[in-house]
């Protein structure tokens, strides 16, 4: 166990899985010598060579499709899109091919591929390089969706994703690459679809994902001063969604705030809020509240971008509005 960054944790997961299983390989733009746009694949090209760490042309359909076809042929590709925003040119291979193949073929194949994609705003990259698109992926039967917040979760979930026999969309928030925390040196897995309670509390449940987990924890500390004990639930995966953990928490706290960076309208929080309104309405002492980005593209200018991204204050405000 030692202190590692989220980026190092991901890198270690890739390295260990590639050492363990020679069917695991990496493909994507600039993932080789360059080490990936954000550095996640650094050193892997040197260790495993160009046959297992493949730089691709800038053709995302071919990347996702090649990973899908190779997975159906028995390999375990880990594909990287440089930004999740580029899924638009390759969505078909993900949702009509990878996700549906097993079902359409009557169970005749597995598609053990992982698709890593950095998400999120915060670096001034503007409207086409800053999005959070997880709600699209949640709506695709056949996929799994992981969205880790901590270095520990990042490593364990990535290893699980690689070993999973289904296509797993693995969403990394680019602002989290530098976040650090305790991460075991050895290989370990975290069950895909299992939430984690990042902070216990009895007064309100805050379900938060990715870097909003940190905002939620910050909010919780501040709320403590006002005598409000918030429970912070990190689903860690959005598909499958760990309904039980969320419901259990809401049944204890009787109040729910959902926080994510994705656009709020029809965003990932809509499902969580709707699910609770269906299954635990009688436990709610106040309306459900969602904290998400406003309904506009991500703006470039830093002050506007900061205003755009939800933060701890927005969460605090949401919690206080419940009273």
């Amino acid at each position: 166990m030692s202190e590692k960054t989220y980026l190092q944790a991901l890198n270690e997961a890739l390295r260990q899985e590639m050492e363990r299983d020679e069917n695991v390989f990496i493909l994507g733009e600039d993932v080789g010598q360059f080490g990936g746009c954000f550095g996640v694949t650094q050193g892997l090209f040197e260790q495993f060579g160009e046959d297992r760490v493949m730089d691709t042309p800038i053709t995302e359909s071919a990347i996702v499709g090649a990973a899908t076809g190779a997975a159906a042929s028995g390999l375990r590709p880990v594909a990287e899109l440089m930004f999740v925003d580029f899924i638009g040119v390759s969505m078909d291979q993900l949702f009509n091919q990878a996700a549906k193949m097993r079902f359409m073929f009557g169970g005749k194949t597995t598609v053990p591929m992982t698709l890593r994609m950095p998400q999120g705003a915060g670096i001034g990259a503007a409207a086409q390089h800053s999005q959070c698109l997880e709600s699209w992926f949640m709506n695709i039967p056949g996929l799994k969706v992981a969205i880790p917040s901590s270095p520990y979760d990042a490593k364990g979930l990535l290893i699980s994703a690689i070993r999973d026999d289904n296509p797993v969309v693995f969403l990394e928030h680019k602002l989290l690459y530098g976040a650090s925390g305790e991460v075991p040196d050895e290989s370990y897995t975290i069950e895909i679809g299992k939430a984690d309670i990042k902070r216990e509390g009895g007064d309100v449940t805050i379900v938060a994902t990715a870097q909003m987990v940190y905002a939620a924890l910050e909010a919780a500390e501040k709320l403590k001063a006002d005598g409000i004990e918030a429970e912070v639930v990190d689903p860690r995966c959005l598909l499958p969604l760990d309904k039980d953990t969320i419901l259990e928490s809401v049944k204890k706290t009787h109040a729910l705030v959902v926080a994510h960076e994705a656009v709020q309208f029809a965003g990932p929080g809509a499902e969580i809020a709707a699910m609770v309104a269906e299954e635990a309405l009688d436990y709610l002492d106040a309306p459900v509240k969602r904290v998400g980005a406003p309904f506009c593209p991500v703006p470039f200018s830093p002050p506007l971008e900061q205003f755009y991204i939800p933060d701890a204050d927005n969460i605090i405000e949401a919690v206080k509005s419940l009273r």
Binding site: P57, A66, A72, N96, Q97, R102, M104, G107, K108
Partner: protein
Amino acid sequence: MALSKKTLIHMYETMNRIRLFEQKLQEFFAAGEIPGFVHLYLGEEAVATGACSTLTDADMITSTHRGHGHLLAKGGDLKLMMAEIFGRATGYCKGKGGSMHIADLDLGILGANGIVGGGGPLAVGAALAAKYRKSEDVAICFFGDGASNQGTTQESLNMASAWKLPLVFVNENNGYGISCPQCKSMAVVDIADRAAAYDMPGVVVDGNDVLAVHEAVEEAVKRARRGEGPSLIECKTYRWRGHFEGDACTYRCTEELEEWMAKDPIPRFEAKLIESKTLTKKEAEKIKKRIAKAVDEAVDFAKESPMPPASALMDDVYA
């Protein structure tokens, strides 16, 4: 004809198997017994047959919406296919896929595909896997003239050539993408000319001549097995029926159809076989009868099979 008698007869059988299978589908679709879309391959049998006759079970193919011919040529089981197209629980996909999604991984069939151009990237993946494993296996990607314009197809041609993958792109140029004639969807006349854009060999063959198809694909397959990379073979052919069953086909003229029907690949091949004494007229009739019987049995199998139960709906969404 340097091919063995066994191979030649097998090709002849395959073409007839496709023909009779599809004529049955035409009949049952008209009778309202087949649900959904059915895209018939009638008239194009020589392409799939010639191309797949170069492959082993370990080689992979990706197919299209017009996939029955490819699947049968790659060894697809008549009964399992028929049952699937009839939507039965005993079909290849347990009734969940239908005509456009039949697959048999054991035979190297990575699926028909409802998305035009959808198979290209998957074929790249299959070829990549073959290369990754340092095997001598190859993959064939079947795609239409319409599909050749799709970005996914062109990305696949590029990636396969950049990576020297063991992949053969077999273009079935039947002159139309639904109602759109080739001349309206692209400015080039020969799709094979596009191979140069990826520095790979491009060859035009008569797609109604099964031996010509075989020969061209065979060379490309050998090249691929030697690790020299992909090729593009354009097979000029024609579909006899509408785009899908039910299409009145008003966008084509009768003369064009008649001209192509006169080039029916089966009698052409049969005549050659008889001429070369590989086959007698009588043997040919016997083969056709045997296949007709097998097709009928497949229909019986399909019709006697149960529909999938509601309880099966959520199976196989996840592994």
